[in-house]
Symmetry: C2
Subunit: 761 residues, 2 copies
């Protein structure tokens, strides 16, 4: 059968030129898997559970296959939850094995239709993409994105199963079957076109079903996964605290349960999976836009309330300007608008009638606000004017969007201030930058480096830009965390917005105001996820976690009496209440029909900092088991004075999370004085700090030369060439530059300041 298949495969492949390209092109290319998102923007069009179940049983009947059982249950989003759901159902067989159905996409020219590889295996079977790729001579397998799943099966990954294959789609895909299925006597659970219904078939049944679909050209391929060489280990660079390592080992299954893709193996897939599984975000029917669900929006609310207090201390007031900007006003500042015009969204129609003039949706509000600053600022008594607004702005990116990091609409705050003197403006720029630093370091436990942007990288139309540079260890890339700009008098000068007051010291003279603008966006949430998340899912720093502690009742079995059960639940409820009184955001998870294991996994995915377990023994000893999300460390503690115990632990977690992240950042910042060391540093996921000449031409040159030698990037990967990230304020970290002696390693000119160069988002 294998041989037959190979022939068929060759024939088939000849019909799909892009696959040839894959076979040539793959070797040099980096291993990156595409994201695996349970997206159902159009879920309302999907067959509902009942309907699907009926259709399945009918089609199986046609093949005279009679399922051992068919059941409906709560929707499931992972093998773990699926298993739970089945076990919870009386009419389910007592013994069964899960079938997993994975769809891979080989790299394909954008114009060509891909031939997905459908892998059907026992859930327990280790299915390693590169190993499969090797066996199929396709070295660039990536888990397929939702769009593709929808296109081929009109199902999401949680509803997928061998039964998703039919006469229409089978010829369009390559089907691989775990050979141990056929030989197995086990009963297998398959999704019936829905994550909330399950059909039970024997291995023989499954095979029979698939063989019915075979054509002269396209056959299924059985594969003995146990004889495949797993190359996973070599591909991973895991760096975790020993305790964590133990955890992984202990609940190997859970790693797969939790996120399905390892952070170190396929970072982008891992990232989006975490966002979905942690219930932070969902995809939206307008591409590039995302739904911020309460679990992520609450983090934004924490940031808002902290930041509002701080800026009000600086005399900043909140306000709201309209989202619309007239074309005339928007295009007033040429350099500025050049930076945005390609991304501006235009409203041209209202109801049935076209607008006389198209109206822009703000990409940022400088030009929308400053005509009014000119109107309101009439005397030096009106200065400083400090306004802030929390709003959303629209930048219609055509590049690949990424949740939180690059989206077409995003939430942010934008502060716009006007001052009498440059000194005042300069001071505020740094005050704000430091508030942003506190948001990242103290609230999100994410280390950042304050510095100033090069002329090339500064804000369009501004005088200078100060920045916080973050760093994502997994990708080895820098990321701009927040910026605070001094606009100088570029927007206030007469030919611009003409914002001036009479010089208080000389009423015959006019002083044009000095302006700043500064912004922090929801991107911060994405950076936090990337820095702290692990293969169990999200890891939340306590200060921004909407639930800091979850209390889970344990040791409840079928034998547990209702009294005992009630007693344990009450204890958990009581504990949560006690913690709430101690200003700890605590919750008792008393949901029926879910096992402790299911709950552990659920809250670990969502990154709750501390889990408290209470079982009969704990109750007897008046203690509870604390489990840290960040390290996995477990520790029984007394219920006496539990409030202060937990508060202390939360503080510890917050600071240790930051320390670990900061050490990781620092360990990747390399002082580089020879050009030859630059690219290796970058390739080693490092940031090269060089004594730089600060000449723009040199920056372009560095980007070009460092990009050239870099390995080709995944389509979703950020630019490969290194750009200047920041000129850090803390120059003392590196060997003092000797004026006239220290040279720029890139061009040999005199070095000015140590400057961070790196690949970036």
């Amino acid at each position: 059968m294998l041989a037959a298949w190979h022939v068929a495969r060759q024939l088939y492949r000849c019909r799909t030129s892009h696959l040839i390209r894959v076979r040539l092109g793959c070797s040099e290319s980096q291993k990156k898997l595409a994201v695996f998102i349970p997206r159902r923007a159009l879920s309302t069009f999907q067959p509902n559970t009942m309907a699907s179940l009926d259709s399945i049983t009918t089609s199986l009947a046609a093949l005279s296959i009679k399922p051992t059982a068919t059941i409906d249950h709560a929707a499931t989003t992972s093998p773990a939850t699926w298993k739970e759901a089945i076990i919870a159902n009386e009419s389910a067989p007592k013994s069964f094995e899960l079938i997993k159905t994975l769809v891979y996409k080989p790299k394909t020219a954008k114009t060509a239709t891909p031939v997905p590889v459908v892998v059907i295996a026992r859930d327990a079977t280790e299915t390693n993409s590169s190993a499969i790729g090797k066996a199929l001579n396709l070295k660039e397998l990536r888990l397929a994105a939702t769009d593709l799943l929808t296109e081929f099966f009109s199902l999401d990954k949680d509803s997928l199963s061998p039964l998703a294959l039919n006469g229409q789609n089978f010829p369009k895909v390559q089907t691989i079957v775990d050979s141990s299925i056929a030989s197995s006597s086990a009963l297998f659970a398959l999704h019936a076109h829905s994550s909330s219904s399950t059909v039970f078939l024997t291995g023989a049944d499954i095979l029979a079903y698939l063989q019915k679909l075979e054509t002269a050209d396209v056959k299924i391929q059985e594969l003995d996964f146990h004889n495949l060489v797993p190359s996973l280990a070599s591909a991973t660079h895991t760096s975790r605290a020993p305790v964590k390592e133990k955890e992984d080992a202990k609940i190997e299954g859970a790693v797969q349960i939790a996120i399905g893709v390892k952070k170190e193996v396929d970072f982008s897939a891992w990232y989006t999976n975490v966002l979905i599984k942690a219930d932070m975000l969902d995809y939206y029917s307008v591409s590039g836009c995302y739904i911020l669900k309460p679990w992520s929006y609450s983090i934004w609310e924490e940031i808002q309330s902290w930041f509002n207090v701080e800026i009000k201390k600086l005399g900043v007031q909140n306000s709201y300007f309209p989202m619309f900007v007239s074309a005339k006003v928007l295009e007033r500042e040429k350099d500025h608008i050049e930076g945005f015009s390609p991304e501006v969204a235009w409203v041209t129609r209202a109801g049935q009638s076209d607008l006389e003039e198209p109206i822009a949706i703000r990409p940022t509000s400088e030009t929308a606000m400053y005509p009014y600053y000119a109107k309101w600022i009439k005397s030096h008594r009106d200065l400083p004017l400090k306004l802030n607004q929390w709003n959303s702005v629209v930048r219609w990116e055509f590049k690949n969007p990424q949740p939180f990091l690059r989206t077409r609409e995003f939430l942010w705050q934008e502060g716009h201030t006007a001052h009498l003197t440059k000194a005042e403006a300069d001071t505020e720029v740094l005050q704000i930058l430091d508030l942003y630093r506190q948001v990242y370091e103290d609230l999100l436990a994410v280390p950042v480096i304050p510095g100033i942007k090069s002329e090339k990288e500064k804000f369009a139309g501004g005088l200078y830009t100060t920045t916080l540079e973050g760093y994502i260890p997994t990708s080895g890339r820098g990321i701009q965390a927040a910026t605070s700009h001094c606009l100088g008098q570029n927007f206030s000068r007469p030919e611009m917005f003409n914002i001036f007051v009479e010089d208080p010291n000389d009423s015959t003279k006019k002083t044009y105001v000095w302006q700043n603008s500064w912004g922090l966006s929801t991107r911060a949430i994405g950076v936090m996820v990337m820095v702290h998340g692990d293969n169990q899912g999200l890891v939340l720093p306590p200060r921004v976690a909407s639930i800091q502690v979850v209390v889970v009742p344990c040791g409840i079995t079928a034998k547990t009496s209702d009294e005992q059960r009630a007693e344990i639940n009450d204890a958990c409820d009581e504990l949560a209440k006690t913690l709430l009184k101690a200003d700890i955001r605590a919750k008792a998870d008393l949901r029926d029909g879910y096992t402790p294991g299911w709950k552990f996994n659920d809250w670990e995915q969502k990154g709750v900092p501390i889990r408290l377990e209470i079982g009969p023994n704990d109750l007897a000893k008046q203690q509870t088991l604390t489990v840290r999300r960040d390290t996995g460390a477990k520790n029984p503690v007394s219920l006496n004075d539990i409030g202060s115990t937990i508060n202390a632990l939360l503080t510890t977690i917050q600071s240790e999370m930051f320390t670990r992240a900061r050490d990781a950042y620092n360990s990747r910042i390399k002082e580089v004085t020879h050009w030859d060391d630059v690219v290796p540093t970058l390739d080693n996921k490092g940031i090269a700090v060089i004594p730089w000449c600060e000449v723009e031409a040199c920056e372009d040159d560095i980007k070009e030369r460092s990009g050239r030698s870099a390995e080709p990037q995944d389509e979703r990967a950020p630019s490969a060439g290194a750009k200047s990230l920041a000129i850090p304020y803390e120059q003392s970290r590196w060997t003092p530059i000797e004026p006239g002696k220290t040279k720029c390693p890139a061009c040999g000119k005199d070095a000015k300041r140590w400057t961070m160069f790196g690949r970036s988002y």
Copy 2:
């Protein structure tokens, strides 16, 4: 000259047909003045102070008129601030009189160009629009709107002066001059094309300047205002606490200073003036959109923080959905979209490229959110789902916009919840309605009546709509304050968004979820302004005032020593700090260069609930004078335990403001059982509560019949026909309806429930 002018006027008038129409149309028409807004969206294009001053002096020189003096000063927004600014300036003449320049617009066909009436008078001269109108045989004079001022003079009202008249605009207007100017020996202060510069001329100079502009057709007209019969008194229906009356008398000037237009005389002009002078809002270059300045936005923040706490108690979580909605999704629910489609704004272009499909900006988010509810709600365990978002929505009104009440973009919260049972949904609808009631009554001190909307008035696509009906005594109109809708299963049913769970009691049955949506918008702020504001300006209820108490140093004169001045200022500063410690939002106004009188006026316009004055004597007695903004009542209190004294006073003010407003509301609600009493009740600014049949045809009929007899409305006035406002829950307020016996006064059918009918916004 008068005679000559009359002839010229007749000739001139023949060239302006619309004026004829005015003369015919005016008599029956209501006296309403257009709004008087210092709008300078394009202020950056305006001649700046210096330039204007130069140009003026040159042009005067050409007439060999030499100003006695010319000075620059801080921008001024009222006669009071202007006077202050001049006095503060050394180079200003010691004795002078202000010149006021008022521009009136006679009612004009939209298509025709109006002929504005420019009135130039001594500031002291009582200029009464109806009296002037009578004299000119133009009975519909309204203060001109900004657009018109910009069009004719490219100046705002604060920069206006006789010098704004020139060869171009003079023939296009009708110029009236206070005859007492020519005869006066006084020196007059005139704005020089800018509110921050002043020229001093004699009456003769002014007249000379104007006469140079006269043409054969168009002359100036001198008018002896003292011989005009003022009909103002008769036109006003003022109802104020005696104390307040005294206040008015005492600072007559201040009434005009404050708002310029009396609330009872020209409500809409008063309304917008209050918003501008209280610094709550500014007009924006995109029409129908407004800038919410900190003074109003802070009120919204107060509402947000209170409401967030309350809904979280109900298990509602905040989230954020994108502002964009695809056409397909938006148009899913037909009845629903019909209600909005004429007002939907469409994005069709991004950067330079047209979008494949136009994308809507949400007018509300039901259809944007519910596909995801269908996806997320898989089991009854997922219910109830309760999400809320604070965002802005866009409804491109083509009707005349009004700040806060009807704007193209507005801020609101929209809650969207899904429940297993109708009972649950019904309960929540009322829980939310009561939260809205508390926002209005407890925070804004605005009385509202909870009830249910008629079928005709309910939310498009919903099952039923509950509402809070507010009332604006000055206009005698009802206003919808907030609505809480039960959508029933209209959006969840299969052909719609197909949102269902398995019936927990019968897994073979599907239950379609019951949904609610509820919203509260910034309209609430507008209602609060209309209900509480007076002729001094805004009156803020303490609970939403961002500054509850302002402390003003008094009794400081030129003779005051620096030590004394410092002592008083320190005492004020100290007092403010003490109050802050007592959780009172207090501020000490220690601004230099402003007199106490100027500060009093400034804070009264802004509606700060309590003013505290400290002068040398107060200091000696260790006391401070409390002045209530709402009643004007003054009362000296000891500085001992001042915190609790003021807290108590704030509580009193809050509750008395509400009580007064509630009594005013109740006094206008009339039980009406005969049709003949309906229209008189409405015309008397009342709300008619009738025992209604609840038949839709009858409602249409009532609207038609009650509208017919109403006097014609100002273009900015809301609809004249009466519609059903609400069927109040508290039916017991009125005579019990006897089923079968009590008849609907409109159609004679059997009455069902007492229903409020009234004109409305």
